[in-house]
Amino acid sequence: MPAFPSLTRRHLLGGAALAASQGAIGSARAAGKFTVGFIYVGTRNDYGYNQAHAEGAAAVRKMPGVVVVEQERVPETVAVGNAMQGMVQLDGASLLFPTSYGYYDPFVLKAAKADPAVTFLHCGGLWKAGQPLNAHSYFGYIDEAVYLSGVVAAHSSKTRKFGFVAAKPIPQVLRNINAFTLGAQSVQPSITTQVIFTGDWFLPVREAEATNSLADQGCDVITCHVDSPKVVIETAEKRGLFTTGYHTNQMVLAPKGYLTGAEWDWPSLYPRLVRSAMAKQPIPNMLRGGFHSGFVRSSPYNPIVPAAARKQADAIRARFLAGNVAIFKGPIQDNKGSTVIAAGTVLDEHDVTLEQMNYLVAGVAGSVS
């Protein structure tokens, strides 16, 4: 399946033989097309973080006049710098999506400085004033969707014990664990969450062990924040537990127990960004959004989700969409008994103090260090 219709074998071999001939490289570019490059840190079919981005790329691929080039399993080293430069120089890309958090500093910054004509849309929400204007960074308030997963799962749980398999105790992850727990407690205040940190983003064996251990402790709802939820969701399904997904839709892995899930809505966002870039309209350097701006979504409900759960979750989602609900409003205590958000304080999704979250809320069993 040739990605480049204009590319013939003669061109390729010619290019090989002629070594550094610019003409040969030029011929590899699709004439008059707008080339968009996507770079992933893992595999495109990981049922998780990278697949969510690849689904966004697939939506971009369907746009007329656009050519998409992709590269997967690119580590956060000089490899990503080379991958970006290669897409620009060898494929003629004018818009790049380097999708891993760790690509930004120093690699995206360096590449943006070196190539002012290329637009970089990085996933992570890291842009700061003073950094190159052709560098952009976006991220979603996915804790909104995770909160909804907690609400839905609370209706199905019998043991009132939730299990959470998490990679690292960093703010983004803690925020999801807390949102999940607060969502569940909004339905059933006695629900607790047991969290296990595996230590890294992709450790399938440890993730399976953690899931089994949570099942043995009596948890009947399992969710996770790791790069590929596949192992966690499959293991929980085998143990007959309910699950809620993360990053993308994992229903196919667990048709019996998968209730709903928190997904990135990149297939909605990316075509919008590419359209702006093609029309040379300005794109904000820092982009953040939740349900309201179409950055996140929930997986469709499993048929087993009771009507009461759907009704409540849909009502809250409508309020998220309208932009008038905050997950983190005081009083909130951490699991050591100190007040972390005072009564009367409401931290809306944009609040930067949430980006520095370093606590687990009351009802979560686990430690941040």
Partner: protein
């Protein structure tokens, strides 16, 4: 005779390369891809343009040094596979020392020097530890170096997420960033549009020095004697323990220096991203170079080129990323297979027979005797 021996030494890798090329073409053909298009792209992506060369050389730079971490101890007959640990500890030591000294207002060149020394010391100690365990406690150095690498990575993660952590690095725990003045620059290339950091030069110089040391000094001769026959070396009164310590430390120092370059020329800070596998790829480089420090140079460039071309295969032919891993796996397997032929395929002796037909006939007579 020298030429024949040279050919015999170069033959296994060349055969392995050819076998790999044929096997990989068959693999591509079976999966419905035109091998000629793929090889064209591999060439284009690895060496076809100035940018391809830059891509290739940037990937080769750390491999030159991590390859030495396996190749130098191999002269002693030791199989060290823990270069990743030396690399990671080198990076960590370089970042810690660099950040500490940057606050003192020392000249950047001096700080970079101190960072390199700290990195080489850290890497040297961890690999020398494997050598010492082997010599004095009889612990298998292959296993111990690998396990030490895991410990090194854990130590790095612990420190980067703990005492060395920049409080501002919220979601990606890292040390503070090195000041720009400490970052290593690019090799001046004149009008060529190639920008490769000076780490490549460090690697090239280290490989040349290692070659000189091993093959043109009495120290190197003693080292190879330990590798050739430990008991004979002891009988000859060679200080075996000291040789093991020094040579393993040198290997570790090379990988540690690669870690320093990764921090000071690429990442700008130490984080979990440091453990990206350069140490492990170095093992492959060393074996492919048949543990010869000089041969590491072309091998590292070749492997760097294969890695560099992976992107084009994915983008132009819609091949999965694993394709390049298949190619690397085939290369390593072919090499090990051909290696087994070594010693059975005595080219030098075959040539000698041709020059002394009487001997050959005598042998033939014996073989085809009654």
């Amino acid at each position: 005779m020298r030429l024949a021996r040279g050919i015999e030494a170069a033959l296994p890798p060349v055969l392995a390369l050819l076998a790999t090329a044929v096997l990989f073409a068959a693999f591509l053909g079976l999966s419905g891809t035109d091998p000629r298009a793929a090889y064209g792209l591999i060439w284009l992506g690895a060496f076809g343009t100035a940018f391809s060369w830059q891509n290739t050389l940037l990937r080769a730079a750390p491999l030159l040094l991590t390859g030495l971490c396996t190749a130098l101890p191999a002269q002693l007959g030791l199989v060290i596979i823990g270069g990743e640990g030396a690399f990671v500890l080198g990076a960590l030591a370089a970042a810690a020392v660099g950040l500490k000294l940057a606050a003192t207002g020392m000249a950047p060149v001096g700080i970079d020097g101190a960072m390199a020394l700290a990195a080489m010391a850290a890497g040297g100690v961890v690999i020398a530890l494997s050598g010492a365990l082997r010599h004095w406690r009889g612990v298998n150095e292959t296993i111990s170096s690998l396990l030490l690498a895991y410990i090194a990575i854990a130590v790095m993660n612990q420190l980067v997420e703990g005492v060395l952590r920049d409080p501002a690095s919220l979601n990606k725990p890292s040390t503070r960033a090195l000041p720009d003045a400490l970052m290593l620059g690019a090799i001046p290339t004149g009008s060529l549009p190639i920008s490769v950091h000076v780490g490549l030069l460090f690697g090239l110089i280290a490989c040349l020095l290692a070659y000189g040391l091993i093959f043109h000094t009495t120290f190197g001769f003693a080292t190879r004697m330990v590798g050739g026959n430990l008991r004979a070396a002891r009988m000859a009164g060679l200080p075996v323990g000291r040789l093991i310590l020094i040579v393993t430390a040198l290997g570790g120092a090379a990988a540690g220096l690669a870690g320093m370059v990764e921090v000071a020329a690429v990442q700008g800070a130490a984080s979990a991203d440091i453990a990206a596998g350069y140490g492990f790829t170095g093992i492959l480089v060393a074996f492919l170079a048949r543990q010869n420090p000089l041969a590491i140079i072309p091998v590292a460039v070749l492997l760097g080129g294969i890695d560099a071309s992976g992107g084009l295969l994915e983008q132009r032919l819609d091949l999965p990323d694993a394709t390049i891993q298949v190619l690397r796996g085939l290369l390593f397997l072919s090499l090990l297979t051909v290696e087994a032929l070594q010693g059975r395929l005595r080219l030098a002796e075959l040539l000698r027979w041709r020059r002394a037909p009487a001997v050959a006939q005598a042998v033939n007579a014996t073989v085809s005797g009654p």
